[in-house]
Symmetry: C2
Subunit: 561 residues, 2 copies
């Protein structure tokens, strides 16, 4: 049965490995929530499945080992509490049970690991609508985004991680005959075998904005390398990962494994210690973390028994030098700032514009003209509330609102952040983006996560590049965007981006936003600046998750094969 | 010119990558110091080159940046001081100079990195005799071993690291066209490029027993991924790495790079702080360390700005259950204990023998009979001083002698360690191996690095396996050797070895010793127990050394190609 899963998905896996090496566009999971791809009634069934989960306990069948307590107090950013209670983990029962479950899982080997992992992703894809509603009502993303980013795009990242692990494991032979010539004497002959040994239970710590997209790479890289996984969601976004864990447990059980290979460690916001307690447990050999720099740095510093892979905070920046498409540039930037109210780790925050203006096909536009074009484009996106909420979504939590207030004191308000009423969810927490003019000569060197951006006047583009490089190097950054028609500056930007270890997007004026990162093509994070110590997904991301242990024996002396 | 190096060695590189995936026997560097392979007069020329280095300053041409001080006080374990003085590094001048040198090196790209690295290894191979004398008179290895382990075998490990890096870098395309369909609309088209960005200056910290073999993997993995490297040798074994650095600088200069891409940080034994000072410098992004657990753990704990890869201490063990070749087993074990006076990180220390004896073709032999067979075999190896010294070599330093004294208090002496007079070097520090009977019920859980082993009586083989697993898990181990003709025990041993993350050798009775680890086939260390946090050489060992930084741009908006 486990091998059936592998054979069922083998073609997909091979395409995925090939896509990873080509890095062109590829995805097996359609991002369109159309019945043409997901079937008639899939949308309605998914909504019904989501609604059936509300206001009741979330049950695993069979139950997850340990825990008679119930936790969970998710409240939709669109208003109502979800009313779902999850089994709380009793670590002293759950982790030993996971170790028992892991014992046969680790023996199963790469084909079974890949097959089971791929089947889980396939079933998650079939539940994309249900997961989309769960993502919408925990993160605040608008529905379409919740479907795409929480469903097929997250599934792409999962498949990418499985493919990357498979690619690496395929480089290691299972056995070899080693025959060393000895001149006139008989050669030395040894039979050698190599075994992939997973590194331990993996802890995956989710965030409240992209619970699936950011957690799937670690979760599935762990499974594809034979590790058991405990998933600790953010208390504000448990449901999408609880459904994920439930699906994983079903597939594991069907494949003949104890479902405690994958477990959920839900907790209330008041129980702030669970992640750290878990992270220091000796059973935990791997930690995948998405969240704040404070928590990520703590894990890197303290969880010394584990390999810790983190995605943390950073300051993303846009440098405007010149453009051959002013309208496209302005529209693209405005969309980048507004999408999901800036609650993406890839959203730009600082926008550098030269004091003496920007060269465009319409001539040299002044600093004020370019700033105002951006401000007006953002304002224009939010004039119609009904359309705006489909772009903005809702604000995930109150801390974002407080950050808007804080940012308002950091310069001059160019575009005020205002509350919008959501036509469908009157209780939704919706705010339009705040655009600030940064105080003169003050570099913005703190992250303001949320719908907050700063337009920063600079003496010239070279100054902007140097400033952006320094901020990315010191504070971290996942994205850097720049607009220039100058070939020399383009080279300088590429040098600066390489030195700061930040992905560079040039002259985005069309349908791709700097915020967006496509699996199988775009590396997400580089591991080369403080925003992340790893990337999604490369060899370093997967090769830490297993070890190779060899046995060798002279062929002549072997008494049994 | 740099590309010439790549093309010159391309076939070797491709064979090496293939060997790495097959893991059968392969080596392009002959381990025999015969004129048939190294040419007539090579031995004499190498000796002359070594002797010409004695009693004078070691000069780099061009000079290494920084430093007017001279250091170095190596004394041969065979007697005389070497009298060589090396330029001491002035870090505040040397590291900035390295960064300047690194700037063009990092731009050169994988082909140039590989080509230059391969040319360096090729030239090192041509200097194997000179390096052999340098290794002999710093480590104390006998000449033949110094030639093999310090020359071709170390070069194999260097080539393996280059091949492993190349294999990984080949998985990353330089550029791609990303074309995402948009239904009835025109597709989104982006041009993407990826650049390999080295992680920073690599610090390679050498040891005094295998200065080249243990340092080359880190050194050459760094070069092959575009990093500059500062090599800090053990103060007792500077010369082999100084020659290596000199050769590297020559090749770099010929290829048009500043030679400070590779530098030497020599120091006197009294200057104990240099390694730690260097390790915490912000310029250092990678550290490869071979040495004590205390120093390795300190680096892992403290050098947080760098990726730290360590090989540390451990306790290697032999489990004897049964054998179909008693004489072969006893002889193989005796050679393992005697080779280089046990001064290998892979030398067995604890030998477990069941109290009720061992099943052999000669019937059940008692614990005492098997112990005595081993003791007599070791004693026999050292009866003829002239032959013995070619196996034992010399004791590298006084601490090893003190450890022999310490170990003598830990049980009953079965075979006394005695001084031998070296027929060629009367001042040589030569000792025969000490074999102890461990105190009853006392597990030997400390490392006694040197010609020291403990025979440990155990109730049965299952007890021995459990004990060995626990010691390897807690204290670390690079090797585990076992003798059994029982298929069930063989499986139990493989499970225990996998759980303890230690390489297992079964039934070694012939020409392969457990101490020996062959490049392209045997992983050295696993990274899965405290003896090492990495392995030589796998994807994890090389993938930490670089990051990938991408640029993407819409194809339509590009004004310059």
């Amino acid at each position: 049965m486990p091998t059936d899963f592998f054979n069922r998905h083998r073609a997909t896996l091979e395409q995925a490995v090939s896509a990873l090496q080509q890095r062109g566009y590829w995805s097996p999971y359609n991002e369109s929530p159309s019945p043409r791809f997901y079937g008639e009634g899939a949308a309605e069934a998914g909504r019904a499945a989501y609604e059936a989960r509300l206001e009741r306990p979330f049950l695993f069948t069979p139950e997850q080992a340990g825990g008679d307590r119930w936790v969970g107090a998710e409240v939709s950013p669109y208003g109502p509490p979800l009313g779902i209670r999850y089994p709380a983990p009793d670590l002293d029962r759950l982790l030993p049970s996971m170790q028992r479950a892991a014992a046969s899982w680790r023996e199963a080997g790469p084909q079974v690991w890949a097959g089971v992992a791929l089947e889980i992703v396939q079933r998650l894809n079939a539940r994309s609508f249900e997961i989309a509603h769960a993502v919408q009502h925990t993160t605040g993303q608008a529905f379409t985004m919740a479907f795409q980013a929480g469903g097929p795009h997250a599934q792409d990242r999962a498949l990418e991680a499985i493919a990357c692990a498979w690619q690496q494991l395929q480089l290691i032979p299972a056995e070899a005959r080693w025959e060393k010539p000895q001149g006139k004497h008989a050669p030395l002959v040894m039979r050698k075998t190599w075994r992939i040994v997973p590194r331990g239970i993996g802890l995956v710590i989710g965030c409240c904005t992209f619970p699936t997209w950011n957690s799937y790479p670690g979760l599935f890289a762990n499974l594809a390398t034979g590790n058991a996984v405990i998933v600790k969601p953010h208390p504000g976004a448990i449901l999408p990962l609880a459904i994920t864990v439930q699906v994983a447990r079903e597939v594991l059980a069907e494949a003949g494994f104890a479902p405690d290979v994958v477990t959920l460690a839900a907790h209330d916001a008041s129980d702030t210690g669970l992640a750290r307690t878990l992270a220091l447990r000796h059973e935990i050999g791997l930690i995948d973390f998405t969240g704040s720099s404070a928590n990520g740095d703590w894990l890197e510093e303290r969880a010394r028994q584990a390999r810790v892979l983190t995605e943390k905070s950073g300051i993303n920046q846009i440098i405007i030098d010149s453009t051959d498409n002013l309208a496209g540039m302005v529209q693209n930037i405005a969309l980048s700032l507004a999408l999901y109210s800036g609650q993406m780790c890839t959203t730009p925050q600082n926008i550098y514009i030269p004091r003496d203006g920007v060269r465009t096909p319409q001539g040299q536009l002044s600093f004020v003209e370019v700033s105002q074009a951006i401000v007006q484009a953002v304002a224009h996106l939010t004039t119609d509330s009904a359309k705006a909420v489909e772009l903005l979504g809702a604000i995930q939590n109150e801390a974002v609102l407080q950050r808007i207030e804080l940012a308002r004191g950091k310069g001059q308000v160019l575009l005020e952040s205002t509350a919008l009423v959501h036509p469908q969810f009157p209780g939704a927490r919706v705010r339009t983006p705040l655009v600030m003019l940064a105080r003169r000569n003050e570099a913005i060197t703190e992250e303001y996560f949320g719908p907050i951006s700063f337009i920063v006047p600079v003496d010239d583009t070279a100054t902007a590049i140097a400033l952006a490089q320094r901020i990315a190097t010191d504070q971290g950054a996942l994205t850097l965007s720049a607009y220039t028609t100058d070939a020399t500056l383009r080279q300088g930007l590429q040098h600066a981006a390489a030195d700061a270890g930040v992905a560079l997007s040039l002259n985005l004026t069309g349908g791709v936003l700097v915020n967006q990162s496509a699996a199988f093509s775009d590396y997400h994070g580089t591991g080369a600046n403080p925003a992340a110590n790893c990337t999604l997904t490369d060899a370093d991301f997967v090769a830490a998750r297993y070890r190779v242990v060899q046995t060798r024996e002279p062929v002549a002396s072997t008494t049994t094969a």
